[in-house]
Structures are given as structure tokens and as C-alpha cells.
């Protein structure tokens, strides 16, 4: 009889197959480029802007989880490094941002503002874009 831990291990191993094929990366870049267009041409915060914002996240996510042409152990290691860096960076910015905006308001606007949080879209955008950028940079460093 399989133990509970064995079952859990199998389920976790299934989650390892989360990656998309390499061709999906181009689709991700296409979605990202198309999604940026409404942000430049729409001035008011309309629904198209909201769709564009979420399309940017979907595009970045597709790029982020797409395999490389040769997905070997070096690439896996660099991917892991970039995810770690992006995670720490996003958490650090999320924690420190309210403090900086509070100080900026206090010094420049000379008024006390309550601590305001950072938006969820910004956090996700930062997490994904830092991961994609840092991963590409790591790959270049190993050329």
C-alpha cells in the first residue's frame, strides 16, 4: 500500500511538467507586444486598458514558463536562479514601497499620508518581468 508521502511525492512530480514548448515563447512575446498598444493609445482607465494589463501578465507568464530550444540542466539551474531572484526582489519592493512612498509624501508634499500598499498587478508584473529579464541576462552570461 502506498504511503501518504509517496502519493504526495507523485503529485508534486506531476507539477514539474508545467512547462510549455519552446514555440509558445513567440506567442508570449506576440501577446506582450499587442497588449502594450492600448496602454499607449487609451488615456482613460477603460476596460480595454484592464484587458491589456492582464494580457501583459499572461504574455509574460507564457514567456516565463516556455522551454528553451535545448532545456538542459544548466538552463534549469539558471531558471531557478532567476525565479529566486525575482521572488526576493518582488517581496523586497512590496515591503519597502509603502515606506518609500510615505517618506516621499512626508518630505516633498509636506503632508502625512497613511501607508498605502502596492497594487497586485504591479507585484505580478514586477515578479514576471524581473524573472524574464534576469533569466535572459544569465543566459547571456553563459554564452
Amino acid at each position: 500500500m502506498e504511503s501518504f508521502l509517496d502519493c504526495e511525492r507523485k503529485d508534486i512530480n506531476k507539477l514539474k511538467k508545467y512547462q510549455l514548448p519552446n514555440q509558445a515563447k513567440n506567442i508570449g512575446w506576440l501577446i506582450l507586444c499587442v497588449a502594450f498598444i492600448p496602454l499607449f493609445f487609451t488615456t482613460k482607465d477603460t476596460s480595454s486598458k484592464l484587458i491589456a494589463k492582464y494580457s501583459i501578465l499572461i504574455g509574460l507568464l507564457i514567456i516565463s514558463i516556455s522551454k528553451e530550444k535545448i532545456e538542459d540542466e544548466l538552463i534549469k539551474s539558471l531558471r531557478m536562479q532567476s525565479f529566486t531572484f525575482a521572488f526576493i526582489f518582488a517581496v523586497f519592493i512590496t515591503i519597502t514601497n509603502p515606506l518609500f512612498s510615505y517618506l516621499a509624501n512626508f518630505v516633498f508634499a509636506e503632508q502625512q499620508e497613511i501607508f498605502s500598499g502596492i497594487g497586485d498587478w504591479i507585484i505580478l508584473w514586477m515578479l514576471l518581468s524581473v524573472q524574464v529579464f534576469y533569466f535572459e541576462r544569465l543566459k547571456k552570461m553563459h554564452q
Binding site: E68, D72, E73, L74, I75, K139, H142, Q143
Partner: protein
């Protein structure tokens, strides 16, 4: 960790690309191992050992500060 990958590759007279194809990795991985920027896994080290027909410790060896306490 030091390695003699470049020397072993020269003995076999194969390029980084050819060696990479033999063991199923990218040329960048071989380049990174040769330049000591990446330490390969045991599986990859054993694959290299089969290509070079030598024991792993003949082309990979530990530096002084990495030696185990025996």
C-alpha cells in the same frame, strides 16, 4: 572544482558542439563547465566519463578547500 574537459576534448579531437550533442546538452553548457562557471550533475559527469572512456575523477578534481575531512 577543477576540470580537464578542454584537454580531454582535444584528445578526442571534437568541438564543444559535438561533445554537447553526444551528451544531450547545449554548447553553452559545455563552455560553462570548461570555464568553471557551472558544476555539472552526477548524471552529466557520468555521461562525460562514458564519452571520454575515463573515470570521472580523471577529469574532475576538487580544490584544496573543497577536500573532505578524512
Amino acid at each position: 572544482m577543477n576540470n580537464r574537459l578542454k584537454v580531454e576534448r582535444a584528445i578526442l579531437d571534437i568541438t564543444q558542439e559535438e561533445l554537447a550533442k553526444k551528451i544531450g546538452v547545449s554548447r553553452q553548457t559545455i563552455n560553462s563547465i570548461e570555464k568553471n562557471r557551472y558544476i555539472p550533475s552526477t548524471v552529466l559527469a557520468l555521461k562525460l566519463s562514458m564519452v571520454f572512456k575515463k573515470n570521472v575523477n580523471e577529469f574532475f578534481d576538487l580544490e584544496e578547500n573543497e577536500m573532505p575531512i578524512i
